[in-house]
Symmetry: C2
Subunit: 333 residues, 2 copies
């Protein structure tokens, strides 16, 4: 008999995520009730937002409760169904949780057309990252042709898509990433006009040199020193789309905001936070546009698929916060 | 023969403004050339922005040069004219500089109708403060009826107008000010629904108690700890209109941004900087609306008019940064 392997939140992490924050166990497998179906997970998406979901208290979405299956986007195959619209063998994608088998009524679950893209890409470039990049850049950053767009964590899952979409929009694109390998990939693989290495000593100077016309749009994933290097270079009426502040996610004490906060006033910036769930009404348009660009070869996604199954989930998750991954981090179940 | 008394910038201040940062002198009086007129200053507006104008380097507007007459809004009477539209005896208002007599071609100078409001009010409530409050609240804060609007430096020139306009818009208005006297005036004189004293120990708790439905719009004049108390209370999709960051104006070393910066992302805030000069196209509408409300008795302005003439300018200016004034600070020439 097949079991359901589950990854449950055992305790709230203090600082960096530890293996002991999760309880991994084999549990009895349930069958779907009328109106439900069961999905056998094949790929689990690992997202920076997961760290926030593990914290107590108010955040973007309610925290995962202690003892609950860890929240996560998953793609897989329906292996049992008593649902009218999903049948055995269908490939699907959605928020099914970090477990080998999930029972669902189908709410928020999308069919994953593998003739368009492989199953991993449905939790990869076409999943959260693509939607986040498209909606955030288009509707918060509002770049115009010829403007300069700077993306931090540019080699990350979202960042690499942001740069490519900004290119499609006719912008000059500058990516900030850590180390020569990632920076080279930004320009060589993803078509960024320039890449700046934040691990070098003079980020502010290097960024200034790469943005000779200043910065009109900043798609911010990091915060901290990186945002502080961006702020003084922002042009009049520039826009900062705050997608993530990953530099502070593991902080255990208060972290100061950007020292160059005053640039918001001096340059009359608009700084706006968003998450992908804010744009539910834009998803059909976003999927269609992203899918079209993908088929046209205008978008590529670098996906970093890790083996090891669900047992490896805690260790793979930690890569997100150490800069140890490159591209969308996915765990093969 | 009458002389022109001038207040010129002698050096750039380091930290707090000092008397020695200015050179006050009597100079020969010029006559207007063809197309010009001369204004005898009666009231000089003292504005927090002046400290920024004295700094070297990029800011909202170019700095005042060393040796130049200090920039300032002035109302007065035309005492000599070779200009087609302004004649001797006209009362006017505009950016005429901190001096007893100014020669101008009339660009940016408005006639000050003293049947509507006294001459001091043309550099007071109807001047920069009214325009700033109206344009910033209406077009950046975008409050809706029933929302909660929090104003910092609420007893200041701009703040007291912001609260009254928010009231007119049907909002719940909460003002932050220093000391029981100022707080009492906010509720008793200016119709704020609540006032919170930042000089008491528990600003964050007191503010929370005063904003039981959270904060939808923050009209921010101060920054620092006060903005940090506001940020966690902001409601989903709240707006922060950054009008000033007076807490940092005298800083001589880098000042951290708000520790609760992350609220921008968590609550999907829009934080936007503006200055009154951004809304030139809205001035006719703003003057008309403010004037109408003023005549209807819906707006009142507390003006703090100081004597002492131009010699007192440096000392009166310092009151702005020490919290020593209440309401729009004006110097009688």
């Amino acid at each position: 008999m097949t079991m359901n392997k589950t990854v449950r939140l055992a305790r709230r992490p203090h600082g960096e995520v530890q293996r002991e924050d999760f309880a991994i166990a084999e549990e009895a497998l349930s069958d779907p009730a009328e109106g439900q179906f069961r999905v056998r997970a094949e790929y689990v998406s690992l997202d920076p937002a997961m760290r926030g979901w593990m914290n107590e208290g108010k955040s973007y979405v309610p925290p995962v409760g202690i003892g609950e299956v860890m929240r996560g986007f998953v793609s897989g195959t329906v292996d049992a169904s008593r649902h009218a619209k999903f049948k055995e063998g269908d490939t699907v994608s959605g928020l099914l949780g970090v477990q080998s088998h999930a029972i669902t009524d189908g709410q928020g679950i999308a069919k994953a057309d593998t003739s368009l893209a492989p199953l991993q890409t449905w939790v990869g470039g076409l999943g959260m990252p693509g939607l986040t990049a498209y909606c955030g850049l288009t509707y918060v950053g509002e770049p115009k042709e010829g403007e300069t767009v700077v993306v931090s964590a540019a080699s990350g899952a979202v960042g690499q898509v942001v740069g490519q979409i900004a290119n499609i929009y006719g912008c000059r694109t500058v990516g900030i990433a850590g180390g020569p390998e990632k920076c080279a990939a930004l320009t060589d693989e993803f078509g960024f006009d320039a890449a700046v290495d934040y691990k070098k000593e003079w980020l502010a100077d290097d960024l200034k040199a790469a943005c000779s016309d200043g910065i009109d749009v900043n798609f911010e994933n990091v915060g901290g020193d990186i945002l502080d290097s961006v702020l003084p270079l922002m042009n009049f009426r520039g826009r900062i789309a705050i997608c993530g502040l990953i530099s502070a996610y593991n902080a255990t004490k208060p972290v100061p905001g950007p020292y160059n906060f005053r640039s918001i006033l001096v340059n009359r910036l608009r700084v706006q936070g968003f998450i992908v769930f804010d744009f539910l009404d834009k998803y059909p348009e976003a999927y269609k546009q992203l899918g079209t660009w993908y088929k046209q070869g205008k978008l590529k996604f670098r996906e970093d698929v890790r083996d090891g199954g669900l047992d490896a989930f805690p260790d793979v998750l930690k890569l997100l916060y150490s800069g140890g991954n490159f591209g969308k981090l996915i765990l093969k179940v």
